[in-house]
Amino acid sequence: MNTAIHVKGLCKQYNDFGLNQVDLIVPTGTIVGFVGENGAGKTTTLKAILGAIHPDSGTIQVLGNSILTPAEKAQIGVVFEDSFFYETLTAKQINTIMASIQPNWDSTEFFRLIQGFQLPTQKTIKDMSKGMRMKIRLATALAHHPKLLILDEATNGLDPVVRGEVLDFLRDYIQNETNSVLISSHITSDLEKIADSIAYIHQGRMLFQMDTVTLLEHYGIVRCSESQLAQIPQSIKVATRKNSITCETLVSDAAQVRQILPDAAIDRASIDEIMQFYAGRDKL
């Protein structure tokens, strides 16, 4: 399978934080959801992929290239949560600017997207709502027909209707099976809907990258007594929350636990819950 992004052993050390041996794969034609707590290293990883920071070690390949020249960057569309053109510009001016920057810029496509998103062309960005601002960023990232879309917290702060529109758009975008998306988000319910796989980074370490369906099928939350908990193999126990009556344990193989403890209550674990258990594990 071809890969749009292949990150291997990425390390980057700062004074108070570091990426440690991060591996990430975005197969061509898929959407990869990139999750993690605030400060876990999502944006730092995305910055490293785009060459905005210099990694200490590791390799990064984007669309088959380890060094991104302008020709390769012309095939990438990027949306950052808080990094874009200054807010006094209008969609029309952005079109004029990007037509001179992006070699494959398609003004017709840009205004088609602007129209589709119901955005005004003469209004400045500062006069737009948060949802409109995000849509104009998306339109700008897509009007040169990129093969790879990198979105950093692109749906945060948007109302459910706009988020739904963006998610529908992303689904359409990968339909041709040559386009790929790497999207980081705190709204994991969105990722459960659209992502083919989920990569979870925690305190600078990639804990797992798994096919979304497999992840949601394999992981489970077991509610049982302490004596039952002891019967579950340590290797599949991720973290446990205990109270006076029961233990809640996140397990990485719910099917195996069902065989060991047929009477125990095992619920499906959402990505949010998986993250909460992993994060709680450090506090125990």
């Binding site: 910055k47 302008p70 020709a71 960057k73 200054y86 807010e87 006094t88 001179s100 920057i101």
Partner: protein, 217 residues
């Protein structure tokens, strides 16, 4: 590169067009009313500071990070700022010359003298803003602006101190100052200024490119 220039021009025009119109009227009015060509050369400084102000806007919107996802090289990003400074100084010089012509027609001021003042100022501004840009890429525009003002204040304070202490006495009788009073001197000084300040500008351009290439966003 053209797209980057367009971006800056759109933003600067939007941000400063009212200020520009105001200072154009105000400074021209002062120059005509007082007969002091000093007001004319002020355009050059103001234009340069506006361009440096564009760097603060870039920082505010984290433009450099966004630009990492665009098909532009880092040297083009730096180059566009240096070209913009040059273009702004060139346009302010042309504007100043036009106002000098107005002053000559209205007040019969010596055109040649005013023209040289504008040219000298433009050359000095070229070097000044070149250094400012390089420092801005190294330390950020706010720190660079502050440190440059401190350096200039220290320089003028030293000159004044030297004059107070009498260290500059007798300078008017040296061969150099006598030569400076000759008719050919202003033009030669202008050419030397152009070469020196242009050289400083190019060195700063190269330094800024190197600084920027190592930067992380």
């Amino acid at each position: 590169m053209i797209g980057l220039l367009k971006k800056d021009l759109f933003i600067l025009w939007q941000a400063y067009r009212k200020n520009l119109a105001l200072i154009l009227i105000l400074y021209t009015g002062f120059a005509v009313a007082t007969g002091a060509s000093f007001w004319v050369v002020m355009f050059t400084w103001v234009f340069g500071f506006y361009v440096i102000g564009g760097l603060s806007i870039d920082n505010y919107v984290k433009w450099d990070l966004y630009a990492c996802g665009l098909p532009v090289r880092k040297n083009q990003i730096v180059g566009s700022k240096f070209i913009l400074i040059f273009l702004s100084l060139l346009s302010s010089f042309i504007l100043s010359v036009l106002i000098c012509i107005l002053l000559t027609l209205v007040q019969h001021q010596p055109f040649g003298e005013m023209l040289l003042s504008c040219f000298y100022t433009s050359c000095i501004c070229l070097a000044y803003f070149g250094i400012m840009l390089a420092l801005s890429y190294q330390f950020g525009p706010e720190k660079a602006r502050g440190s440059m003002i401190l350096v200039l204040l220290a320089f003028f304070a030293l000159v004044m101190l030297a004059a107070k202490l009498g260290l500059l006495d007798g300078l008017e009788n040296t061969a150099v100052t006598r030569w400076l009073q000759s008719s050919a001197a202003p033009v030669i000084v202008g050419l030397v200024l152009l070469v020196v300040c242009g050289g400083i500008y190019l060195i700063c351009w190269a330094a800024a490119t190197k600084i920027y290439s190592k930067k992380e966003f």
